[in-house]
């Protein structure tokens, strides 16, 4: 473990990631004049801060309170965790004047704590933690230098984007054996090795896609003042940029910033790093690939002699669905054996990855058996998971979820009934429902339980159903 820490800090002193992060600060800054806008940023970052303890909490709860699992609202964290986190940040007065030292210091800070609490490098987890630290810093210190400000502008969007990626991952994998647990974000460091399987590939892709998506969207909300309007690119004559040729797409901007933030987390130069970078790129390509081209005619009398076309962001769900398909068709690359850290093998790695389409997900290892609990890998197993059965409007994949999660894993399905109070017969407007009634309804839910345990517990459900369940193997 100690060795690991050293290695990590050594990697951070490497030139590559620093260079990337620092290049962020080269964006034009009109920040100092807009104090009021800054106020708003603070408000946003407050949520970012909340995000981290929320993740911590979820981890422990996994698989314990499924009864209330019906569409939980966003659980806000307990105050004390939040306080601990911010106070930890405060206690170390990080030098803010120089962004380079600030970032590396922050990273090391994260690492020392991350290792202490059992998590490690190069993960999304780290990204969130890092951004959380920054927002904590913003709240306490008002005298930012412009450079750090430029970094902070995007940090809330990046964090929100990563979060939306995780939420999408959870949605997409809700009825799979692996259900995108929070642990996935730490990318299992217990063995000292980061996993490099299909699921890791998906997590990397969806989070970089989420970051790109959110940045692009927030661009159009007017959150940043230089969205897609990099003057150097359009100013073909005399650099008149905006007046001469307008702005380019916000997507390019989102892509660039996402690349800088997410790819900078990957500090190694081995096959795993190459794989993660490839999958990050695949995630960004997925956003571009799902974009829709829309055109508007505005020629003579509104005819199509003149038309303008643009690319439109899809719903993020579409990106998730697209990546899920890519997940099923992910390519396995055999590079782990005998690959040292020599320059030659690096060349081989780069060559292998460059020969694979940037749109495809890539993994190096096979996935472990997600049926079983595996503490060394940090897997929880499917025991206790909810599954779906016999719904009228369920898809095939969902209908088979009980068999996949329970039956095929050697577990049996248990039926539990619960009374639910929910609002119903609501009158809806386009926003915000008005006048709802409270309805009680009983819902039947299905859970995977161990065979012996089920036999022992026996009661709780009617005998009829018990019999029927027993008939099914």
């Amino acid at each position: 473990m100690t060795f690991k820490t050293e290695e990590v800090s050594e990697q951070f002193s490497d030139d590559r990631p620093k260079g990337r992060l620092v290049s962020l600060t080269s964006f034009p800054q009109s920040a100092p004049q807009q104090n009021s806008e800054f106020q708003l940023k603070n408000e946003d970052e407050y949520h970012t801060l909340n995000l981290i303890p929320y993740l911590i909490e979820e981890e422990g709860d996994e698989g314990e309170e499924e009864i209330q699992a019906e569409a939980p609202d966003l659980v806000y964290p307990t105050r004390n965790i939040e306080w601990v986190l911010s106070s930890q940040c405060d206690s170390h007065t990080l030098p803010v004047t120089d962004p380079e030292t600030f970032l590396s210091a922050a990273k090391q800070e994260v690492h020392s704590r991350g290792v202490a609490s059992g998590s490690a490098a190069g993960s999304l987890w780290e990204l969130l933690l890092l951004l959380g630290m920054h927002s904590a810093l913003t709240e306490t210190q008002d005298h930012e230098s412009g450079a750090v400000y430029a970094y902070l502008i995007y940090s809330s969007s990046v964090a929100a984007g990563a979060q939306s990626g995780i939420e999408e991952c959870k949605y997409q994998f809700a009825w799979d054996r692996w259900n995108c647990p929070e642990r996935a974000l730490q990318l299992s460091s217990h063995s000292g090795l980061r996993s490099a399987n299909r699921e890791t590939a998906f997590v990397h892709a969806i989070s970089s896609a989420g970051v790109m998506y959110t940045l692009t969207r927030n661009c159009s909300l007017g959150d940043f003042d230089n969205c897609g309007c990099d003057d150097s690119r359009n100013g073909q004559l005399g650099g008149q940029g905006w007046l001469w040729g307008g702005c380019s797409d916000n997507v390019g901007f989102g892509e660039a910033i996402s690349k800088q933030f997410v790819d900078a987390l990957e500090t190694g130069q081995d096959a795993r790093a190459a794989m993660n970078l490839h999958n990050n790129e695949a995630g960004r390509k997925a956003v571009k690939g799902t974009m829709k081209r829309t055109c508007k005619c505005h020629g003579v009398s509104g005819s199509c002699t003149t038309q303008t076309c643009w690319l439109q962001l899809p719903e993020f769900r579409e990106v998730g669905t697209y990546l899920k398909e890519k997940y099923h068709r992910a390519l396995k690359v055999d590079l782990l054996q005998g690959a040292g850290n020599s320059a030659a093998s690096r060349g081989a790695i780069a060559e292998t990855f460059s020969s694979i389409s940037k749109k495809e997900l890539v993994h190096l290892e096979d996935s472990p058996d997600y049926c079983l609990e595996n503490k060394t890998l940090g897997l929880l197993g499917t025991e206790g998971r909810e599954c779906l059965k016999r719904g009228k409007l369920l898809s095939k994949w969902e209908k088979r979820s009980c068999r996949r999660l329970c039956g095929d894993c050697g577990l049996t399905v248990e039926e539990r009934r619960a009374e639910m109070v929910s609002s119903c017969n609501c009158k809806f407007h386009w926003c915000c429902a008005v006048k709802c009634e409270q309805c009680r309804k009983s819902v039947t839910k299905y859970f995977c339980v161990k065979k012996e345990k089920r036999e022992r517990s026996g009661g709780g459900i009617s005998r009829k159903k018990d019999l029927r369940l027993k008939k099914k193997p």
């Binding site: 807009q34 806008e37 708003l40 159009s220 307008g246 009398s301 969902e398 609501c426 407007h429 429902a433």
Partner: protein, 541 residues
């Protein structure tokens, strides 16, 4: 008197003229492809959701999405639900353009399209024939700290044409509908620096206003405007082309007036074509930089319409005057059957344009397509215009067919003629065909470029050089028709060469006596071209 320049010019000279025109054509394409940026730009905005805390819907208050006086905003409607904010208290605010950018008169026009992100909920879905009612206000200001001045205010209804990409089931819960674009604003001039749009979607259950339109998640506004760089290149081109066409036009008319006879129909039509081309060319748009002339968009439409009508009429008359049958035409009334549909179709489109862009001068949010009656009316105009166009092209194709049939008929008689005469006539027929070919090529090139610009993504890149295909299309096609009109006036101007000069012309060693006989026998048809006279003569024989 001799024929048109095209007949009396040697092949070599003709090639030189063709070459020069071709060079200009290439320059026109490159001007758009290499110098000009893309013709239009797009600003994507997602509306900020502001809360009207004052609960005063009548007082004019502007909601800014950012900046010093920004409104109280919510990030999503889930938040509104928690805080018990009603739909009527929500204002969508969009600032055009982005922060730290400003609009400019060089942008010429601005149109905004609205898109609604509507999530499917099984208990709150979009009903059949749903209409969305918008309370839109638009304001402008010219400095960042100044006050907003109202530009327009209106209550608009728009049809909500949405469909769900997946079947309605539990899986699609929360999925977004795919909705058609909703045209919202059209401004014919961009005279101010900053624009602000505030949109409300008022709900009234009694009057069934904004009921059954699903659960709106976001409102997006896409704003299209012409790029300043393109406008500049375009203006430069117009400013250069206007005197060129004007000079050749004056030269042409002087040639005609120098003749002893009065000008024939074809000559007049060519002159009219020149006038309509000049009308398009005159760069009155320069004034739009200094003045807030919102009618410029409509004026541009009218100018283009006049030119198209003129060009189509010219083609018909050109074919008719080369028919080489016994019928005497030379009067516009003879062509009423063919020109009638053009005039009628143009009128239909003009009325339609007045209904759309004309009304937009008063109310920039107006759209004829918003109401059922308007849609039917607009469709009626367009369909009638379409029928007229079909009729016209039917006539045109038939006439072209007739001309070629007559030419081949004459050609079979050519071997019986004397050698010099035969060579002469063959040359004439060749040149006539050549001109038909050029016309066809121009039309085909227009169509091909039009399709290309519709299909591809706007620019091609070769070794770091970006070619703006859309801009190249506009400047290229515009240049092409200018060159076409220029060539027409030049080559169809009456030749000043008399018969004596013809002798010296190496290409045409026509026996003057024979030529004299040829021309003098035709007394009635004083056609501008030799082919025409040939036709008349052959017919008389």
């Amino acid at each position: 008197m001799a024929g048109a320049i095209i007949e009396n010019m040697s092949t070599g000279k003709l090639c030189i003229v063709g070459g020069i025109l071709f060079v200009f054509q290439i320059v026109a394409f490159l001007l758009g492809g290499l110098i000009a940026p893309n013709p239009t730009s797009v600003i994507h905005s997602t509306a900020t959701k502001c809360i009207d805390v004052q609960k005063n819907h009548h007082k004019t208050k502007w909601f800014m999405p950012w900046g010093p006086n920004q409104c109280e905003k919510i990030s999503s409607f889930d938040e509104a639900l928690k805080r018990q904010i009603e739909a009527n208290d929500i204002v969508f605010a969009v600032h055009i353009p982005y922060i730290s950018k400003e609009m400019n008169p060089w942008f010429q026009f601005m149109l905004s399209i609205m898109q609604l992100d509507i999530a499917f909920k099984s208990n709150n879905f979009i009903q059949e024939n749903a209409m969305v009612t918008l309370d839109v206000t638009m304001a402008y200001r010219n400095d960042l700290s100044g006050k907003w001045t109202e530009l327009a205010r209106s209550t608009e209804q728009r049809k909500l044409k949405c469909k769900l990409p997946t079947p309605k089931s539990q899986i699609s819960e929360g999925h977004y509908y795919e909705c058609d674009l909703i045209p919202l604003i059209e401004l014919g001039s961009v005279a101010h620096k900053y624009y602000l749009v505030n949109i409300r979607l008022p709900v009234n259950e009694r009057k069934k206003v904004n009921i059954g339109i699903g659960e709106i998640k976001d409102l997006k506004l896409t704003t299209i405007f012409q790029n300043g760089g393109f406008t500049k290149v375009w203006f430069a081109m117009k400013t250069f082309l206007t005197p060129s066409i004007l000079i050749i036009m004056i030269w042409y008319w002087r040639r005609i007036t120098m003749m002893t006879r009065s000008p024939v129909l074809l000559e007049k039509v060519i002159f009219a074509l020149g006038i309509s081309m000049t009308f398009i060319n005159i760069p009155v748009e320069w004034f739009s930089i200094g003045f807030n002339w919102t009618w410029m968009l409509l004026f541009g439409d009218i100018r283009q319409g006049i030119f198209y009508a003129m060009l189509l009429s010219f083609w018909i008359i050109f074919c008719g005057e080369h028919m080489m049958d016994q019928t005497e035409r030379n009067r516009l009334s003879r062509y009423w059957k063919q020109v009638g549909p053009i005039a009628f179709g143009s009128c239909c489109l003009f009325i339609f344009d007045m209904c759309e862009r004309g009304v937009q001068l008063k109310n920039p949010f107006y759209s004829i397509w918003a109401t059922d009656v308007g849609t039917e009316l607009a469709m009626a105009f367009i369909i009638v215009a379409g029928i007229c166009a079909c009729l016209y092209f039917g006539f045109l194709c038939f006439m072209v067919f007739q001309v070629f049939r007559n030419i081949s008929g004459k050609r079979s008689k050519l071997p019986a003629m004397s050698k010099t005469r035969r060579l002469h006539y063959e040359g004439l027929i060749f040149r006539f065909k050549f001109f038909m070919l050029v016309t066809l090529a121009c039309a085909a090139l227009s169509v091909i470029f039009f399709i290309t610009s519709q299909v591809n993504e706007g620019h091609w890149t070769w070794d770091g050089t970006t070619v703006q295909v859309n801009s190249a299309f506009f400047t290229g096609i515009y240049g092409m028709w200018n060159l076409y009109v220029f060539a027409l006036m030049f080559l169809y101007a009456p030749s000043h060469k008399n018969y004596g000069d013809d002798q010296s012309n190496g290409d045409l060693r026509v026996n003057s006596a024979e030529e004299l006989q040829l021309t003098t026998t035709i007394t009635h048809a004083d056609g501008p071209t030799e082919v025409f006279r040939l036709a008349g003569k052959e017919a008389q024989e």
